[in-house]
């Protein structure tokens, strides 16, 4: 029950008609146009950063509901193919709007986190996710606080899973981050701090030691 109220909270950002559509999709997926539903969800995820971090849960619920009700895969297939289109166009999206770009990354990672196949992450998404993170680790992106923030947020959420799927790529990614932190001069101080934190986070086995926690996250008393 708590889960459904969480989902209901998230869809409050939609207009009433869309809310109704989504609610029906969650309970009776066979009765709605699932392609439309997937498009609605993707469109909103690219606009609303908070939604992009929560949409994965809704998608997972719809996928399960559809599988149970009709043994079908229509929603998941449409969602993934639409996502693939957006992913292909990511460079243009980034040029057009940094905000849309970070929403896209956030959404793809959220989907990777929630949409599991037989309790395993979708292998098809591993490389695309890494591609996005590598893009965020380029020097032109690291100087944007918004992009660094997105990068470290994703790594906090799914870094350990990604590492399990491909250790070598994670090592390469962190080499870039380390180099960026040490050598890049046009980083903001917040950006630098965020990078330092994520470097320590991974070094600690994807968790922050108590001292580190205190260092990064507690208020400094004057």
């Amino acid at each position: 029950m708590e889960n459904s109220s969480k989902e209901e909270y998230t869809i409050r950002s939609f207009d009433l008609e869309t809310q109704k559509l989504l609610k029906t999709a969650l309970k009776d997926p066979g009765s709605v146009d699932l392609e439309k539903v997937s498009n609605v969800i993707v469109d909103q995820s690219l606009k609303d950063q908070i939604f992009s971090r929560e949409a994965g849960r809704i998608c997972f619920t719809i996928v399960q509901a559809e599988a149970k009700q009709t043994n079908g895969n229509v929603f998941r297939r449409n969602l993934l193919n639409r996502l693939q289109q957006e992913f292909k166009a990511r460079e243009e999206t980034r040029k057009r709007s940094t905000h849309e770009w970070v929403c896209l990354v956030s959404f793809i990672c959220n989907i990777f986190d929630y949409l599991k196949v037989n309790n395993m992450p979708m292998m098809a998404l591993v490389h695309p996710v890494y591609d996005c993170l590598f893009r965020l680790a380029q020097s032109d992106a690291l100087k944007n606080e918004e992009e660094v923030d997105c990068l470290v947020l994703q790594l906090h959420g799914i870094g350990d899973q990604l590492e399990k799927m491909n250790l070598q790529l994670m090592d390469e990614l962190f080499n870039l981050l380390r180099d960026g932190f040490l050598l890049q001069e046009d980083l903001s101080s917040m950006g630098r701090l965020l990078l330092l934190e994520i470097l320590e986070f991974r070094a600690g086995g994807w968790t922050l030691s108590e001292t580190a926690q205190k260092y990064y996250y507690s208020e400094v008393t004057d």
């Binding site: 043994n71 998941r76 196949v117 098809a124």
Partner: protein, 278 residues
């Protein structure tokens, strides 16, 4: 007045000499190209393409040409790949393939456990034919060695797809609602073929066919349309993915080579036609 046989032989010579000419007129470059696509100079004689689909008449498959009627394979398997690799990587399809593969692996673990469980209680006792200790008591007798199960993933995935076609029907839904598993009588009630047992390709395809035919007994009433649809769902392309080679023995006059789906070499055809004249 020529006999029918003589008329036929005449026609046959005429037919094949025409083919000879058209082959002669095919330049070496086209032949080389045809070879690259796996087609041969006889390709345009065949009724079905390599993928099992019927072709339009006198069509030559040209590589790189995306003609409406040429249905290139959506996926192919190379020695390096871990199974069918899609031509155009489409996330929806990829994830579905992943899911099928992991489902098959999970099924295999379950099956292995079931076999092991079935074996143990029977080690000390003689089994009477009426014994129904474990569900698979008959199965485990038939697969004596534990290693004697089908393990090739591609085969298992292909078989699972065929099973899924059958289970995805109204008839199957109605059947499982009507007859719970413990009420099933062997012979009377259709039983899903066991994809883990070792069978030849033909044997397996035949079992699937028979199973699906049996399931039709539970088709919803007065729905002619859905009946036909279900029959078409049997993917003939998969079942018939080899060319039928007609063997012409010089002995029998009665064996008449059919032109549908058969690829006759000139030599064989001439051999046969000569046998009629002699």
């Amino acid at each position: 007045m020529l006999t029918y046989t003589q008329q036929f032989v005449r026609w046959l010579f005429h037919f094949y000499s025409k083919q000879c000419l058209s082959i002669k007129n095919t330049d070496t470059k086209t032949i080389a190209n045809l070879k690259k696509t796996g087609a041969s100079r006889w390709t345009h004689c065949r009724k079905r393409g390599a993928d099992g689909n019927l072709r339009k008449c006198h069509e030559v498959e040209e590589p790189g040409k995306s003609s409406q009627s040429s249905r290139r394979q959506e996926s192919f398997t190379t020695p390096e790949s871990e199974g069918p690799v899609s031509r155009v990587k489409n996330w929806g399809d990829e994830v579905e393939a992943e899911e099928m593969r992991s489902n098959v692996r999970r099924d295999m673990h379950r099956y292995r456990r079931r076999i092991l469980e079935a074996d143990f209680p029977q080690r000390d006792r003689k089994i009477s034919s009426g014994s129904s200790d474990s569900r698979d008591s008959r199965d485990s007798k038939e697969s004596p060695a534990k290693g004697d199960i089908e393990t090739d993933e591609n085969t298992l995935i292909r078989r699972q797809k065929q099973i899924n076609y059958g289970k995805n029907t109204l008839a199957y839904d109605r059947y499982i609602k009507e007859v719970p598993k413990h009420m099933r009588q062997p012979g009377v009630h259709p039983k899903t073929p066991n994809k883990f047992k070792k069978y030849s390709r033909r044997s397996w395809d035949q079992q699937i066919k028979l199973w699906r035919v049996k399931l039709h007994a539970w088709d919803p009433p007065a729905e002619e349309g859905s009946d036909l649809q279900q029959i078409e769902e049997i993917d003939l392309g998969e079942i018939m993915d080899f060319e039928l080679d007609v063997e012409c023995s010089a002995d029998t006059e009665s064996q008449c080579p059919t032109s549908s789906g058969a690829s006759l070499s000139l030599a064989e055809a001439f051999k046969w036609s000569l046998s009629l004249v002699v």
